[in-house]
Symmetry: none
Subunit: 280 residues, 4 copies
């Protein structure tokens, strides 16, 4: 959780906090939108840089842009640390860690060239976008999904354990059956194949060719096809159950009819007729 | 929305409108059925034309048929514009735009030969078919589905955002891990692979070969297998919830407060206060 | 529907009907079990015959076995026609048509050699198995599924129409984008690819290679991944709604009957009969 | 079910039982954790042994480790048999069979070298893990899933029967249509292809190339895409139904209280008090 600065902070710090961390003021919103644009552009820069044809022509330029963005994000990160009342709390918060990881990869290229591309982890910073646009609806829906998943976490873990056991046993069987050929060169490879098959991904880079192997594979596929019903059923039931209580039924009316004008449907607590004003 | 002609339109215009836009009269229905057949035939023509073997033998004939259909649809489009009271409203309506896009591609071939095939967008015009056959049931069910999807749109958007973030991060990781080989030649390519994998499509045109890559891929596959439960759960819960007739909306109360006793919440048609009997 | 013979049929006909069409008597059940075995064996025979290695060695023998089975099934079909009171009704019933189709392919091989393998349509005759074993539970559950699907048929048709439109439009787009290469050689081929992709099957025999093509494919995959939620939601909601009201928990009554008035169903803690007041 | 030793067993046997079979005492928990570690390590050993590169370097060492583990598990199995009061019951229980199968493969390598890898069936022993950590929540959730699946078992069997029939018929059709080429070399192969397609796995090792074949495949794919809704719907509905404890139907009691003993809750048709026998 982010820590709010107290009233006795210096004015500049409170103002900076309001701009950097909040988005209630025009300045704060502008900051967030600029940040948002910078994140998207920097991720695109890194993506383009990874394309060989583009890298060959614009490599140096892209690298410069990338360094500029990283410098900006580093300044921003330091500003956040400076402005916040409890820097350690921020630094160890989920958003703080993401902010930090967003600047590390470029700096790490000085040692390890390939790490640069990991800056796409900056994409995770886009989660802030919901806050910027005051998308309360979105946040609420996101929380609804997360709540439903959390409530189902034990069931999902049990399901995953069963899936992993199934995958290990089937992978081993296939390794023995296919005898190390056709890509089934080791048990870990066969387990990989079993996962590819059970999840119905089916690359086809490894596929059985013996009759027994294909029979086993068929069983695994039908199992995979059938047991996908389990997590779906879990989450569906959870969400159906978690649905907000339906709007309260229309208030029941008083079971009385005005003896003067015969008007029905009075409030339960009505003492006078709504149509003629007669005492009920 | 289509604009209905007023009573003081000339008789021929009203009759033409009834034939072209409505399907209550025998003439109107015949028009729609002929139109329906023409759409199907013209789409089939273009499909056949795209098959090299058929194109080699019957290319010129098919192109002539295509031009005849396009001429017919152009005349029909102009007639719709002429007959409708507010042509601009029609032209900018969803159906109007589809009607327009259905004739553009053939005309555009004069400039850009390949564009001809886009006339299959005419398929979208088949949506009119529900209206022709008075398939109220269909329309109702279609609306039910659309309503359920609309009610879930925020949840689905949140879900898609999460999926996109996951795909970008996993794609980058795989690019770094597989080191640019085996089809993982750039980050966009790796993101494409991540989408192919997460959605369990699994072409196999790109697939990991390193141990770490296959481990990451396994995690992504199991994630994809598990999180498909989320949209399904959303829509299932929405549809299950939307099933029973929704509780009648609480009656809107009169926006007035008794000037004597300040009692609120009077019936919309109340003339006297329910609490003190005073004239409202 | 099968037609039951009337009481005034000759005794042999009624007996034969009971054996062939019903499974209440030991003879009837034996007949059904033998038939069941014959169906399975004949289908296996044809399957084995289709395997080149087996066909090379045992081809003639398998063909003889196949002819024997077909002769048996022909006799059985004729017997059914003979025994039933309204042969035409039986012949035109679903089961009657399946019975007929089960013997045609072998006979047709006299004219068209390849047709022999179609006798595997006999597998459909296994649907009788549910009746043989009095699997009322199965039949009930099967009917439950069929009812849920029937109730959802309009929604499913609307869904399929939307899917087909999507597939036609996307297939055309991909044909134009990929320019006839990489397997996208015609619009029908591209539509085939779109179906393979949307349904998340993903053979990989046709897959896009251009950037634009892969972007479009990604959109189609995510659409396919998301809209599978629709039929699932439809059927889930239907089944959840159609679930039989849970049997009311039978109130635990005292296992005692009043020795004076024979009144049952006393409270577990009752000491006197509720009807006559006698001490229990 | 495991058999608990009786009170009159010798003290050492009761103590050993408590350590080996139970996990309430510190010793019992330690035993289970050590066992858990041994299972994981032994499975990893066998996995590594199956990787050619690792086997070439460390093969002998891994085989020795494997034999040590198998010796340990054999001792453990014999101890379980010795300690339990009714060894046969344990040996024939599910866990007992798994325990036995976990030691057989290594011993069998003396006769059949390839069987060694089947020791990964030891993974199933990890199911004990839930008991070790007193993961009551897990066990409860697992039972919830198992209960929901059991309640749906007839529906799932009906569904699987329908799927198998569909797969046999479609496989045969494709064999006839594709004429034995493109991997459709026999009916069993074509059925394998149909399963790969219907379950949306889609390896692509066999895929149709004729127009008719691709049309049939498209139908099968859309069917597979649509009917996955059925098991999902079954399980979702089952789980949604099993979720809220159904409010007990309030037994309609007589709105009367015995004037002698004040006993409430009389049957609606009761004429005498159930507690004191007084006329109501």
């Amino acid at each position: 959780m982010e820590v709010r600065p107290y009233e006795n902070d210096p004015a500049w710090k409170r103002a900076a906090y309001s701009v950097i961390f909040e988005s209630d003021t025009p300045a704060g919103r502008l900051f967030d939108i600029v940040l948002l644009g910078a994140i998207v552009l920097s991720v695109l820069t890194v993506m383009l840089e990874s394309v060989p044809a583009i890298n060959a022509h614009y490599g140096p330029e892209l690298r410069i842009i990338e360094w500029v963005f990283t410098a900006l994000f580093t300044v921003e990160y330091l500003a956040r640390l400076l402005v916040v009342r409890r820097p350690l709390n921020y630094a160890l918060s989920l958003l703080g860690i993401i902010d930090f990881l967003s600047i590390v990869p470029t700096l790490a290229t000085l040692v390890l060239p390939g790490s640069r591309y990991l800056v796409t982890i900056r994409t995770l910073r886009l989660l802030r976008v919901f806050r910027i646009f005051k998308l309360g609806q979105f946040v609420g829906e996101g929380e609804f999904i997360v709540t439903a998943l959390k409530a189902s976490r034990f069931k999902i873990l049990v399901f995953l354990t069963a899936v992993l056991t199934l995958v290990v046993v089937m992978g081993t069987l296939m390794y023995v059956v296919e005898g190390g050929r056709n890509g089934f060169t080791s048990i870990p490879q066969s387990i990989y194949w079993a996962i590819v098959t059970l999840t119905t991904v089916g690359y086809g880079d490894i596929s059985p060719t013996t009759i027994l192997g294909r029979t086993l594979a068929s069983i695994l596929m039908i199992l995979g096809y059938a047991i996908i019903a389990v997590p779906t059923g879990i989450v569906s039931a959870q969400m159906a159950g978690a649905r907000p209580a339906p709007a309260p039924a229309a208030p029941a009316f008083k079971q009385v009819i005005c003896h003067v004008c015969q008007a029905p449907d009075h409030r339960p607590d009505a003492e006078f007729c709504w149509r003629c004003g007669e005492k009920l």
